[in-house]
Amino acid sequence: MARETLGEFEQLVLLACLRLGPDAYVVPIIGEIAARTGRSASHAAVYVALKRLEKKGLVSSRMGAPVAERGGRSKRHFEVLPDAVEQLRAARDALLSMWDGVEAGR
C-alpha cells in the first residue's frame, strides 16, 4: 500500500500539537490554528482529524489528571509520534522543492 500523504488540515493539527507540546488538547489546538493562520476550525473538524491521525499511528492520546474546571473530569491530551514528524518533514520538503525556483523566478 502506498503511504498516504498528509492532508493540509492534518498538517495544521499536527504542527499545532508540536507547538503546544505534551499538553495539547482540542481547545488550544483550535486556538493555535486560529492565532497563526486566522482560520477558525470547528471542534468536529479537529476531533475527526485527530481521530484519523491516531488511527494511522501518527499521534497518541492519553487522559490527563482530573481538573476542577471540568467538574473533576479529565482532558484528552495528544502527543505527536515520530512517524508524524517524519511525514511532516517530507511534506514540507516536497512543498519547498516545488517552490524552489518559483519564487526566485518571480
Partner: protein, 918 residues
C-alpha cells in the same frame, strides 16, 4: 477565565453531538465544546450561532469521515474498489454487481438491527406470498406441469364431440385404429380407460383400479418398466391373449414392499389368473390426471375383464375410450386438429350411423385436465382464484409499504446525511429498495414454506374426498412453483419498497435539521400516503370478504336446496357382484336377498337398489326416441340421464312420484317394459299431452317400446348448479345394473345402521367387497355436491380473513402513528379541558373516515368483480344485499376496534408529559 463546568450547552445541541460520537468520547468532546464556548463568551463573541455551527459540524463530519474511511479502506483492497464519484462510463459489470452486493449487505445488516420490524414484515409477506404460492401450485398442477414422460409437450388429447351431450366424450376402438393408421400428423396414439377390478393375491380380494390400455401405451409415452417389462406386441394385438398386468409403482410398494421378485408372480383379477410382468417407474403417475391407478392391463382383455364391455373392440359407436396422441415434430395442435377432423369427416361418410355428427376435439395434454369434458372451464376458474390471491398480495404490499414509510421516517437523518455526502437520489432509492427486496426474499422463503404446507393440506383434503375413485392429487412443488414464489417475492419487494423509497429520498438535510430532534417523520405527504394505502387495503379486503360471503351464501342456498331426494336418514352401500365373479342371475338373486334381509332389520324403513347415485361422479346417459314420430330427425331423439332402480326405490330415496305409480314386483323381466320420467322430461317430450301411457325407446328406432307409467319430481344428478335435466328410471328387474348401490331409509341415525347392513351382506356373500359406505348427508357435504362450494368458500374466506387481518393492522398502525404525532396537540386539548370522550371521538373519527372511504371504494370494486364470480355462484346474485350489508357491518366493527385501541391510548396522554416533551 470561566470554567467549563459553569457553561451550559443547549440541550438539543448537546444531544445531537452526543449521538454522533462513541459513548467513551462524548463527554470529553462536550467538555471541550463547553470550554470553547466559555472562552468565546469571555471574549464577548457571539455564542448561539457558534454552538449550532459546531453541533452541525459534528452531525455532518463524523459520519462522513467514517464513511470516507470505510471507502478508503475498501479502495485499498484491489478488485473490490469502486469510486462512486467516478464518471459513469467507467462502470463495468463487476462494479455494478459489487454495488448491488454492497447494497444488499447493508440492507441485511440494517434489517438485522431492527429485528421486530423485520419479523413483522417477513411474516406479513410470508402470509401474502404463501397464499399465492398455494393457489399457484394448484394451478400449476392443473395447467402447467407436464407429464413426466418423454417430450411431454408433443402430447395431445383427442376426444369426440357428438350431438349426444354438450361436452366432449371418448373415442371408439375401431375409430382409434383408423386415426392411428390414416393420419401422419401424429407419431402414435394410445387409448385407455380406468376401471375398477377385484384383485386377489393371497387372502381377501381387494377392490383396485386399473388402467385398461392399448398395447402401445408405454412405448408411445416413452416410459420403460422399472422392473420386468411392459406389454409385448402380441399382448397388444391378440384378443383375450394378454392375461398380464404391469403394476403401478405405488401399489407395488404398498402391497409388495417394493419386492422386485414379484415379476412373474400370479394374481387373480376378477376371478381370472393374471401374471405380473413389470412395475412402472416411481415418477410415472399414469395418464389419468387425478385417478391413482394400481396397475395396467392390455385392452385386449377388456371383454374378459368387464363383461358389460363385450363388443367394445368392434363397436364403432362405443365412444368410451380416452385417447392421447403424440404429435409429429413440427406439427402444431391446430394442424393436427384440422387433419384429424378431416379424417373424422371421412369416417363419418364411411360409417354414417356410428359416426353421425362426430367432430374431434384436439387439445394439448395440459389443457385436458382433469378430464377433457370439463377442462375448458378450468382456465377461467384458475384466473378467478389467482385474481383473488393477487388481491391478498396487494394488501400485503400496502402493509409493507406502510411499515416501510414509518421506518423510513425514523431514518430521515441517515438519508439526509447520505445525500449530503453526495449520494444521488437514485442511489438512495436503490438502497432502500434493496432493503425491501431482501424483505421480499425472506418473506418469499416463509411464503414457500407456508404455501407448500397449505397445498399439502389441500392435496390431503382432495385425497380424502369421499369417492369410489382413488384420488391422486399431486401438488408437490416444482421449479415453476419456486420460480413463481421468487418472482412474486421480488415484485412484492420492489413494489412495496418503491413508493416509500422514492418519497424518503426526497428528504433534505435542511428539513431534518429544522425539525430537530423530533423525528422528521410525518411530513404531511407521508401521512397522506399511508392513509391512501390503508384506504386501498380496506377496499380490497372488503372485495375479498364479499367474494367469500357470496360463496358462503351459495353454500347455504345449496344446503337448503330441494335435491329431489331425501338427504337425512339415508345410508348408501355399494357392491359390485360382477367384480366378485357373479354372473347376472346370481347377482340378481343377491340383490333380492340383500333387500329381503336388510329390509327387515330393526330401524330400517325401506331398502332398495339403484344403479347410479346422484353426485357420484358417474351417471348414465341414454338416447331416447319416441314411438310414432319420424326418428331420423334430430329433434326426435333426446339425451337423458337414467337410473336403474329397485321396487321400493322412490320411497327409500325419498323421491316424490307426482303422477302414476312406482315400480312393483309385477314389473319383472318378462312383463311389458315400463319407465318413469321426471317432470322436465315429461314437459320436453309431451308439452301438451299427458305423459302417462306414452311410449319411448332407449334401444334404437326399432324399440322395444317402453311405457311411461309415472312422473317424478326433478332431481339433481351431477352438480348442484345444473339446470333441471330430463331423466328417466327403468326397473332393476328389466335391466341389470352393476355395480349397484343399496339405499337404506332408516328411522334413526343412518350411520349407526352401517355395521348391521355390512354384516347382512357379508353373511349373504362372503368375501364380497363392500365400498362407499356413507350417509347421503355426508356424501353431499363432502362430495362434489357441496364439498366444492365449501372448499371454495373456505379458501376465499381465508383470503378474506388474511386480507382483513392485514388491513386492520394497517389501520391500527396509521392511527397509532398519527396519535403519536399528535401527542402534543392532544395534550394541549386535554390541558385546555377537552374531555377524554371528545379526544376518543376525534381519533376514532379519523379511523372511521379512512375505513369509510375504503369501504365505499371496496363496494364499487366488489360490485364490478362479483359479476365475474356469478358463474360459480348458486342462486345468489353478485349484488346480494345481505352479503354486502353483513360484510360492511363486520368491517365497520373491525375498523372501530382498530381505531379504538389507539384512541384509548390518546386519552391516556398525560398533558404535562406531552407538553414538556413536545
Amino acid at each position: 477565565m470561566n470554567g467549563a463546568g459553569s457553561v451550559r450547552l443547549p440541550r438539543l445541541a448537546a444531544a445531537l453531538v452526543r449521538r454522533c460520537l462513541p459513548a467513551d468520547r462524548a463527554d470529553e468532546v462536550l467538555d471541550d465544546l463547553r470550554e470553547g464556548l466559555g472562552a468565546r463568551r469571555n471574549r464577548q463573541q457571539s455564542t448561539t450561532l457558534w454552538v449550532w455551527r459546531q453541533a452541525l459540524a459534528f452531525v455532518v463530519r463524523v459520519p462522513a469521515a467514517a464513511t470516507i474511511d470505510t471507502w478508503r479502506q475498501r479502495r485499498a483492497r484491489p478488485a473490490h474498489s469502486y469510486n462512486f464519484n467516478a464518471p459513469r462510463a467507467r462502470l463495468t459489470m463487476e462494479h455494478v454487481v459489487d454495488i448491488w452486493m454492497q447494497d444488499f449487505r447493508y440492507a441485511i445488516r440494517g434489517l438485522f438491527k431492527s429485528k421486530g420490524f423485520t419479523f413483522v414484515a417477513v411474516m406479513t409477506l410470508g402470509l401474502g406470498i404463501g397464499v399465492n404460492t398455494a393457489i399457484f401450485s394448484v394451478v400449476n398442477a392443473f395447467l402447467f406441469r407436464p407429464l413426466p414422460v418423454q417430450d411431454p409437450e408433443q402430447l395431445i388429447v383427442i376426444a369426440s364431440q357428438t350431438e349426444l351431450v354438450e361436452f366432449p366424450i371418448g373415442v371408439s376402438y375401431p375409430n382409434y385404429l383408423d386415426y392411428r393408421q390414416r393420419t401422419d400428423v401424429v407419431q402414435d396414439i394410445i387409448v385407455y380407460l380406468p376401471s375398477p377390478v377385484s384383485l386377489k393375491d393371497q387372502g381377501e380380494a381387494q377392490r383396485a383400479w386399473v388402467e385398461i390400455v392399448s398395447g402401445n401405451y408405454f412405448d408411445m409415452l416413452g416410459v420403460p418398466a422399472l422392473h420386468g417389462r411392459t406389454f409385448s406386441k402380441e399382448e397388444g394385438e391378440v384378443r383375450g391373449g394378454a392375461p398380464v398386468i404391469v403394476l403401478d409403482h405405488g401399489y407395488w410398494e404398498r402391497e409388495y414392499g417394493a419386492d422386485p421378485s414379484v415379476v412373474g408372480r400370479g394374481v387373480e383379477i376378477n376371478g381370472a389368473s393374471y401374471t405380473i410382468i413389470g412395475v412402472t417407474p416411481p415418477e410415472f403417475p399414469g395418464t389419468e390426471f387425478i385417478i391413482g391407478v394400481d396397475g395396467y392391463i392390455s385392452i385386449m382383455m377388456i371383454e374378459q375383464l368387464r363383461p358389460e364391455f363385450v363388443g367394445v373392440l368392434d363397436g364403432r359407436a362405443s365412444k368410451y375410450l380416452r385417447a392421447m396422441g403424440r404429435l409429429q415434430p413440427g406439427v402444431t395442435v391446430q394442424q393436427a386438429s384440422a387433419s384429424l377432423n378431416a379424417l373424422a369427416d371421412e369416417l363419418e361418410r364411411e360409417y354414417p350411423q356410428a359416426n353421425r355428427a362426430t367432430d374431434l376435439v384436439v387439445v394439448p395434454e395440459t389443457m385436458a385436465r382433469p378430464e377433457v369434458s370439463i377442462s375448458s372451464q378450468l382456465p377461467v376458474v384458475a384466473a378467478i382464484f389467482m385474481g383473488l390471491v393477487a388481491l391478498v398480495l396487494l394488501i400485503t404490499c400496502a402493509n409493507i409499504a406502510n411499515l416501510l414509510i414509518a421506518r423510513a421516517s425514523t431514518r430521515h437523518k441517515e438519508i439526509a446525511i447520505r445525500s449530503a455526502l453526495g449520494a444521488g437520489r437514485f442511489r438512495i432509492v436503490r438502497q432502500l429498495v434493496s432493503e425491501s427486496t431482501v424483505l421480499g426474499i425472506l418473506g418469499g422463503g416463509v411464503g414457500v414454506v407456508l404455501g407448500i404446507w397449505a397445498s399439502n393440506y389441500l392435496a390431503n383434503g382432495a385425497s380424502n374426498f369421499p369417492s369410489d375413485i382413488p384420488i391422486r392429487f399431486d401438488l408437490s412443488p416444482d421449479y415453476r412453483v419456486f420460480g413463481f414464489a421468487f418472482v412474486v417475492a421480488m415484485v412484492t419487494g420492489v413494489l412495496a419498497g418503491g413508493i416509500p423509497a422514492v418519497r424518503a429520498s426526497r428528504t433534505s438535510l435542511a428539513d431534518v435539521l429544522k425539525e430537530g430532534g423530533r423525528s422528521a417523520t410525518d411530513s404531511r405527504t407521508g401521512q397522506r400516503l399511508r392513509s391512501t394505502l390503508v384506504v386501498a387495503q380496506v377496499a380490497v379486503s372488503l372485495v375479498l370478504l364479499v367474494a367469500a360471503g357470496l360463496f358462503l351464501r351459495s353454500l347455504q342456498n345449496a344446503r337448503s336446496l330441494d335435491f329431489g331426494f331425501r338427504v337425512d336418514n339415508t345410508l348408501m352401500v355399494s357392491i359390485d357382484p360382477t367384480l366378485a365373479g357373479y354372473e347376472e342371475e346370481r347377482g340378481r338373486q343377491l340383490y333380492n336377498d340383500i333387500i329381503e334381509h336388510v329390509g327387515v332389520l330393526p330401524g330400517v324403513e325401506e331398502a332398495s337398489f339403484a344403479g347410479f347415485v346422484p353426485f357420484g361422479g358417474r351417471a348414465g346417459i341414454l338416447s331416447v326416441r319416441l314411438q310414432g314420430r319420424n326418428a331420423t330427425e334430430d329433434n326426435e331423439t333426446l339425451s337423458a340421464f337414467y337410473n336403474i332402480v329397485g321396487t321400493d326405490y322412490f320411497r327409500a330415496a325419498g323421491t316424490t312420484i307426482l303422477q302414476g305409480r312406482g315400480f312393483t314386483e309385477r314389473d319383472s323381466a318378462d312383463a311389458p317394459p315400463v319407465a318413469l320420467v321426471n317432470e322436465s322430461m315429461a314437459n320436453i317430450l309431451w308439452p301438451d299431452d299427458e305423459a302417462l301411457g306414452q311410449r319411448l325407446s332407449i334401444s334404437g328406432p326399432e324399440g322395444p317400446w317402453v311405457e311411461v307409467v309415472g312422473v317424478t319430481v326433478d332431481s339433481k344428478v351431477l352438480f348442484v348448479w345444473e339446470e333441471n335435466r330430463p331423466m328417466f328410471y327403468v326397473p332393476l328387474e328389466q335391466r341389470y345394473p352393476t355395480p349397484a348401490t343399496l339405499y337404506v331409509h332408516t328411522d334413526g341415525e343412518p350411520s349407526s345402521m352401517a355395521p348391521a347392513v355390512r354384516a347382512e351382506i357379508a353373511a349373504l356373500a362372503p368375501g364380497m367387497p363392500v365400498y362407499d359406505v356413507n350417509t347421503m348427508q355426508s356424501h353431499l357435504e363432502n362430495g362434489t355436491a357441496l364439498g366444492i362450494l365449501a372448499v371454495a368458500a373456505l379458501m376465499v374466506g381465508s383470503f378474506g380473513v388474511v386480507g382483513l387481518l392485514l388491513a386492520s393492522i394497517g389501520l391500527y398502525g396509521v392511527i397509532s402513528f398519527s396519535v403519536n404525532q399528535r401527542r402534543h396537540e392532544i395534550g394541549v386539548r386535554l390541558a385546555l379541558g377537552a374531555g377524554s370522550g371528545k379526544v376518543l371521538k376525534m381519533v376514532v373519527r379519523q379511523g372511521m373516515i379512512l375505513s369509510g372511504i375504503g369501504m365505499g371504494v371496496g363496494l364499487v370494486l366488489a360490485l364490478l368483480i362479483s359479476q365475474g364470480l356469478s358463474n360459480l355462484l348458486l342462486d345468489v346474485s353478485g349484488t346480494d344485499l345481505v352479503t354486502y350489508a353483513v360484510v360492511t357491518a363486520f368491517l365497520t366493527v373491525v375498523a372501530l376496534v382498530a381505531s379504538y385501541l389507539p384512541a384509548r391510548r390518546a386519552t391516556q396522554v398525560d398533558p404535562l408529559v406531552a407538553l414538556r416533551d413536545g
